[in-house]
């Protein structure tokens, strides 16, 4: 008899193998994270407590000055504005993205796949090219203004580019797919019988939406909010290119401290505070998610 009872497998030293293999498979990613996330964060943390010399070089001399400067009203205002813009972007993305995600999720499978492809098509083009395309559309003598002028809707060229509105348009455009996709993922899994059951028990469209659909697609909503809000706060390229320099975001400020102003310790301090903020926001969002979904 060539019986091979299962116990002989678990008892053998080979039982350790899956574990070892797991780590081997994870190793490249872990190395990447350590090298390009943990180490830079450590450098940033060290820099944030340093001063600089007249040439802008980092001097390893302990100080809290950088952190004190972060809480200067100028920077708090910029931070506040960044949060406001990001929140507005997230809100618009949620309002625009939820119906789209829901609509796609309710289609037949082949239609669904085509619509999802349409959502993702913009990713095939470089992000910068898309941003410049928006700039040509929005500028004073650009496509949008020209169309509205020739249609007689507006009397004079419309100057949207380099205004906060342009920055918001650019941000919403860039992050909308990140809202649609996770909500779609949740909505697609939602059994339509649950919605019918809600209607059957007397819930009109509004109650069915708030009592059943939202709680059951909440994981997707939460993921979408995080995926849009977090990068939108830190985004500097779109706000720089489309919003103009008049309304700097926190991302622009940090970017400038490193590239233009040459104040790396202060930029590092801003970056650290900024990262901490994310961690707190993320933790809160997770907890909200768990309390409604034990």
């Amino acid at each position: 008899m060539q019986a091979l009872p299962s116990t002989s497998l678990t008892d053998s030293p080979h039982a350790l193998r899956p574990r070892v293999w797991g780590w081997v498979l994870l190793a490249p990613m872990l190395a990447w994270l350590v090298l390009f996330v943990l180490v830079p964060m450590a450098i940033l943390l060290v820099y944030s407590f340093c001063t600089r010399d007249d040439l802008g070089r980092v001097v390893f001399e302990f100080t809290f000055e950088n952190y004190q400067r972060v809480f200067d009203p100028i920077y708090l205002r910029i931070l506040g504005r960044s949060i406001g813009y990001a929140a507005l972007t997230t809100g618009i993305c949620l309002l625009m993205g939820y119906p789209v995600a829901w609509f796609i999720a309710r289609q037949r499978e082949n239609v669904r796949n085509w619509l999802l492809l349409l959502v993702m098509i913009p990713f095939w083009t470089s992000f910068l090219i898309r941003t410049y395309a928006w700039m040509t559309i929005l500028k004073g003598n650009g496509l949008l203004s020209g169309l509205l002028l020739s249609a007689g809707v507006i009397p004079a060229p419309l100057e949207i580019l380099y205004t906060p509105a342009a920055a918001i348009i650019g941000l919403v455009y860039a992050y909308l797919p990140f809202m649609i996709l996770p909500i779609y993922g949740s909505a697609e899994k939602l059994d339509n019988a649950l919605v019918e059951a809600a209607h059957d028990l007397g819930a009109g469209p509004v109650r069915a939406f708030s009592e059943v659909i939202v709680p059951l697609t909440w994981p997707g909503i939460a993921a979408g909010i995080l995926l849009v809000f977090v990068p939108a706060i830190g985004m500097f390229a779109i706000t720089d290119l489309m919003g103009g320099a008049r309304v700097p975001m926190i991302g622009n400020v940090i970017h400038n401290q490193f590239i233009k102003a040459g104040n790396q310790p202060f930029g590092a301090a801003l970056g650290i505070i900024f990262t901490l903020m994310f961690v707190v926001a993320y933790t809160l969002a997770q907890r909200r998610g768990r309390s409604s979904h034990p």
Partner: protein, 357 residues
Amino acid sequence: MIEIQGVTKRFGEFTAVNDVSLHIKAGEFITLLGPSGCGKTTLLRMLSGFETPDAGLIRIAGEDVTRLAPYRRNVNQVFQSYALFPHMTVRENIGFGLRMQKVAAAESARRIDEVVALVALQGFEDRKPGQLSGGQRQRVALARAIVPRPSVLLLDEPLSALDAKLRGQMQLELKRLQKHLGITFVFVTHDQEEALTMSDRIAVFNHGRLEQLGTTTEIYHQPRTAFVADFIGETNLLPADLIDLTGATARVRLEGGLELNVNAAQWPAGLRRASISIRPEKVHVSKQRVACENVFEARVAVELFQGVLDRLVLEFTGGTRLTAVVANESALLEAIHEGDRVWCGLHADDLVVVRTE
């Protein structure tokens, strides 16, 4: 209670429900029975409001609900998949309908407790549906649907996900509950045995049409079409030609040449050809010649031992075959064997003439 008049529903080219008219009485347990795709579920969904008829009229308690939204109907449904809200506890699930009706908290709590006791779910109120067994989920779905006190309860194959033993138990429980509540139950199933066990009346559907409506005994003993005779229970369905119709007796010839006397009143007027349905338990088999309107000699072609019953396939001269089921008494079992010559008797009253499609 429910009046369905000439209701038709199409999905593209497919006609799911074809000109169905049906009157459901208050407080009765009616089953919509038929194979999958026969339109029974679509008809139920039109009663709950999830589908709108393309033609026809539906009235519930005198009110025209043909185009009324599901949340405005005093009708509740038990879904095939139960459709329990996974983010709510058993108590919250059951209380959902009351909350939508804005029933006061104290009153609502009392009614929930009452229904929880009725379906024997005490102690499970704070569990989530994911922490319940299939049978328990089934009872939560039931409790959730009856607690708002609907005038009609719609049940869409609610027992199909349960194992055979639990299903039998739930059939009895549902029947008991229906008698206790006095609510009209409209039950959808493809299981004819389940339909016979539970219903007051059965509506048999095929290809979107109502084939026959009747009490369980009517449906079983007096099927009107070959489809009904074949779908409900087991039967021998034999095409027959009319050869003589005089007085109270009609004489027909089966394929293979066997001639039978049937009650003339049964034969559909004007037809030359129909089918004879003979239930296997109505075929009398004996070693002695039996006293019947129709008596033939036959050979036992196959004998199948099935525990309580013995199944015999009889072959007549000319090749006609009939299945007979006889109680497995030892005397008979000893007497009859495969290959034996036996006498076969058929009472005219047991021969049901049905229209052939």
